[in-house]
Symmetry: C3
Subunit: 343 residues, 3 copies
C-alpha cells in the first residue's frame, strides 16, 4: 500500500500537523515503529512516542496534543483507536476479494457455484454442493457431497467440509479446520470397539468464525450446531451433537465433549475442557484450563479442574500455596495439645 498523510486524513476526517504529502507504505505498532510507516496513539502512556517514534505518520487523539510542532506528521482525531480501526477496515476492503475459478480446481458437474465466487486451484467440490454468491474458497479445500456454503464466506486453504454440512453467510473458516468428521462413537464388545455410524452433519450459522486446525465433528444423527456470531479460536475440539448458541467466544485449544449444550454470550478460556451431556447457560465465563464437569447456570464464573466458582478457587488456591505452612501450624497445635495432655 502507499498513501499520503492527506489521503489518510480524508478517510478519517482528521487534521494534519506537519507535511501532508508524507508517504506511508506500511503500518507498525507504536512500540516498534519504522520509518515510512503509519501508527496511532490513543493513550497518554504512549504519548512520549510522539517525539521518539520512527513512524512517518501518527494518528493521535486530540487530547494528547500539547505543542505546535512534532517530528512525525500527525493526523489529529477525536479517538485515535477508533479512527485507526476504521482505517484498517477500509484497508482490508481495498485489498479486494478474489474472484473466478482457478485452473486446476475440481468441481463436480452437479455443484452449484454462485456469482463472484473464488475457487482456488486444487480445491475439490463434490456433487450437489452449493457455494453462495461472493464466497471465496482458497486452494486445497475439500467440499463434500451436498454441502451448502452461504454468501460472502471465506474458507481458507486446506479446510475440509464433509458431506451435507451447512455453513451460513459471512462465515470464515481458517486453514486445516475439519468440519463434519465422524464423531467419536464406539460400542465396547468383548472383541473390541464397534463403530457407531455417524450419519448427522454440522450446521454453522451466519457470521461464525472458526480458527485453524479445529475439529468440529458431525452429529451421530441430527446436527452439531455452531450458533450465529460465535467465534472459535484455533485447535479446538467440538464433539458430535454439541449445540453452541450465539455470540460465544471460545479460546484456543478448548474442547467440548459430545452432546453438551452451550447458550449465548459465553466466554470459554483457552485449554478449557467441558464434559459431555451437560448444559451451560448464558454469559458464563470459564477461566483458562478449567475442567467443567457439571451444568452451569447463567452468569457464573468458573475456575479449576473440576471447575468451581472463580472466587472460591482463587481463595482456596492461596491456601494451597501456603499448605506447607498450614501443616506446620497443625503440627504445632498437635504438639501443644500433646504437651497439655502430658502435663
Amino acid at each position: 500500500m502507499e498513501f499520503t498523510a492527506s489521503q489518510i486524513a480524508s478517510f478519517i476526517d482528521g487534521q494534519i500537523i506537519g507535511d501532508e504529502s508524507t508517504v506511508i507504505t506500511g503500518v507498525s505498532p507504536i512500540e516498534s515503529g519504522e520509518s515510512g510507516h503509519l501508527s496511532f496513539i490513543a493513550q497518554d502512556r504512549f504519548s512520549h512516542f510522539l517525539d521518539t517514534s520512527k513512524c512517518s505518520v501518527i494518528i493521535v487523539s486530540e487530547k494528547l496534543i500539547d505543542k505546535v510542532n512534532y517530528n512525525p506528521t500527525l493526523i489529529v482525531v477525536k479517538d485515535a483507536y477508533l479512527s485507526f480501526q476504521i482505517l484498517m477496515n477500509l484497508y482490508q476492503e481495498m485489498q479486494g476479494r478474489k474472484e473466478g475459478i482457478e485452473t486446476g480446481s475440481s468441481i463436480h458437474d452437479t455443484a452449484v457455484i454462485g456469482e463472484k465466487v473464488y475457487i482456488g486451484a486444487f480445491t475439490y467440490v463434490s456433487e450437489k454442493a452449493k457455494i453462495g454468491e461472493g464466497s471465496q474458497i482458497y486452494p486445497h479445500v475439500y467440499i463434500g457431497k451436498g454441502v451448502k456454503i452461504g454468501k460472502n464466506c471465506k474458507i481458507d486453504s486446506g479446510a475440509r467440509i464433509y458431506d451435507y454440512c451447512i455453513i451460513g453467510d459471512n462465515c470464515v473458516i481458517h486453514s486445516n479446520t475439519v468440519v463434519g468428521g465422524d464423531g467419536f462413537g464406539f460400542q465396547p464388545t468383548a472383541e473390541g470397539f464397534k463403530k457407531i455410524p455417524q450419519l448427522g452433519n454440522v450446521i454453522i450459522e451466519d457470521d461464525v468464525e472458526i480458527g485453524s486446525n479445529c475439529s468440529i465433528d458431525r452429529a451421530t444423527i441430527g446436527s452439531t450446531v455452531i450458533g450465529k456470531g460465535t467465534k472459535i479460536d484455533n485447535l479446538i475440539q467440538i464433539a458430535h451433537n454439541v449445540k453452541i448458541g450465539q455470540n460465544n467466544v471460545i479460546a484456543a485449544q478448548a474442547g467440548i465433549a459430545g452432546s453438551t449444550t452451550i447458550g449465548d454470550w459465553n466466554q470459554i478460556g483457552g485449554q478449557v475442557g467441558v464434559v459431555g451431556h451437560i448444559k451451560i447457560g448464558n454469559q458464563v465465563k470459564i477461566q483458562a484450563q478449567s475442567g467443567v464437569n457439571s451444568s452451569v447456570n447463567d452468569k457464573e464464573t468458573l475456575y479449576g479442574s473440576p471447575a468451581i466458582s472463580y472466587n472460591d478457587y482463587l481463595r482456596n488456591y492461596v491456601h494451597f500455596r501456603n499448605f506447607t505452612e498450614i501443616v506446620k501450624r497443625i503440627n504445632n497445635l498437635e504438639d501443644i495439645s500433646k504437651d497439655k495432655t502430658n502435663e
Copy 2:
C-alpha cells in the same frame, strides 16, 4: 435416502402400527424430530415422544407400547436401540464405497495399487507405496515413499502418511492427521539445539481409527506403534517411540510423550497428558485433564495433575473446595490454644 415404513420394518424384522406406506427421507434425534424423518425410542423416559414427536416413523421397543393407535407410524421391535443401530449400519453400507482413480491424482509408476481402490484427485502417492484392496484414499492425501496401507482402509482428505509407515487393514484415518512426522528430538549444545535424525516409522495395526488433526510421530529408530483395535479421537499427540497396545480408547486433545508404553483396554480421557518413558498397564482409566507422571498398574483409575487415585483426588478436592473454612477452623484452634496458654 427415501424408504417406506414397511421397507424399514423388513430390515429389522419389526411389526408396524399405523400406515406402512409412510415415507421417510431422513433421520432425527427424538428430542428434535422432524416431519418425514425416522427416529427411535428405547427408554421409558422418552416414551412421551410417542405422542408428541413430529417424526413420521418411530422404531420403538415393544415394552413401551401401551395403546392401539399412535400419531406417527410405529415399528415395534424387541430392542429399539439395537434395531436402530443395525439400520444405521445398513444405511451406511448402502452409501457404497468409492472406487477408481480420479483424474488429477499423482501416483508414482512404482506404486502398487490394489483392486477396487479409490484414489481422489490431488492425492499424491510416492514411489513403492502399496495400497491394499478396497481402500479409499480421499482427495489431497499425501502418501510417502514405501508406505504400506492394508485392505479396506479409509484415509480422509488432507491426511499425511510419511515415508515407510505401515497401516493395517480396516483402518480409518481422518482429515489432516499426520502419521510419521519427525519426533521432537534435539540435543542441546552451547550454540543451540542440534536435530537428532528421526529415522523410524509408525506402525498402525488393523482396525485402528484415528480422528482428525492428530500428530503421530515416527520413532527415532524402530517404530511408534498403535495396536489393533485402538480408537483415537481428534487433536491428539502421540510422540516418537510410543507403543500403544490393543483396544484402547483415547479422547480428544490427549498427549502421550516419547517412549511411553501403554497396554490394552485402557481409557484415556480428553486433554490428558502422559509423560515420556513410563509404562501404563491394562484396563486403566485416566480422568480428563489428568497429568500422569509415573507408571501405572493394571485397573487403576486416576485423576489430577500429577495424577493420583481417582477416589483420593475427589475426596481431597472436596477439602480443597472448603479450604477457606478449614483454615478458619485452624485459626480458631490457635486462638483457643493461645487463650489456654494465657490462662
Copy 3:
C-alpha cells in the same frame, strides 16, 4: 539402505570383531533388534544384548567388550552413542534432497524460485513469493502473496504459509501447520463481535523447527516472531503478536496467548498455557500442564495452574494428597479442644 559392516566401520573409524562382510538393511532399537539390522550399545545395562540380540551388526563402546567372540558382528568405537548419531546423520544426508518442480504444482509468474529448489505437485505459490536456494516444498503446500522463504528450508505437505510471512534459512515446518492465519481479535458490540482486521505477519528466524498441526497467528499489526534456533513441537498455539526469543524448546499442545514475550533458552512443557500480555525471561522451565498467568523472572522453574514455584507446588501437592488425613487431624484437635473446654 544396504551396507556392510566394513563400510559402516569406515564411516565411524571402528574396529570390527566378527564378519566384516555382514550386510545390514535397517536399524533397530537394541531392545527389539531384528536380524539384518544394525543397533548400538553404549551403556552397561544394555550389554547383555551383546549375546542375545538378533541384530546382525552392533556398534559398541570399547569399555563394554570383555571377550573375544560374539554372536553378532561388532564395531568397536570409543563412544557408541556418538558414533551412532554420526552414522544416522550421514545416512540422512545420503537420502539426498529432492530437487525440481513437479508437474501439477501452481506457481505464479511473479514468484521467484531459487536454485535447486524442490516444489511438489499440488503446491500453490502465490504472486511475488520468494523461495530460497535448496529449499524443499513438499506437495499440497500453500504459499501466500509476498511470502519469503530462506535457503535450505523444508516445508512439509499441507503446511500453509499466509501472505507476507517471512521464514529464515534452515527452517523445518512440518505437515498441516498454519503460519500467518488471522489472530483471534474481536470487539464486543451489542449486536455481536466485530472482527478487528489482522494485518500483520509472522517472522520465523533461522534454524527454527515447527512440528505438525501448529497454529502460528499473524500479528494484528507488526509481527509475531519466532526467534532463531527455537524448536516447537506439534499441535501448538502461538497467538498474534507473541514474540519468542532464541533457542527455546516448546513441547506439544502448549499454547501462548496474544502479545506475550518470551526470552531465550526457555523450556516450556507439554499442554502448558501462558496468558497474554506477560513477559517470560530466560532459562525458565515450565512444567507440563502448568498455567502461567503472570510474568516470570529468569531461571525460575514453575508448576501448577496458576503456576507457582515448582518445589512449592510439589511440596504443597504432597499435603493435598494427604488432605483427608489432615482434616482428620483437625477434627481430632477440635475434639480434644472441646473435651478440654467441657472438662
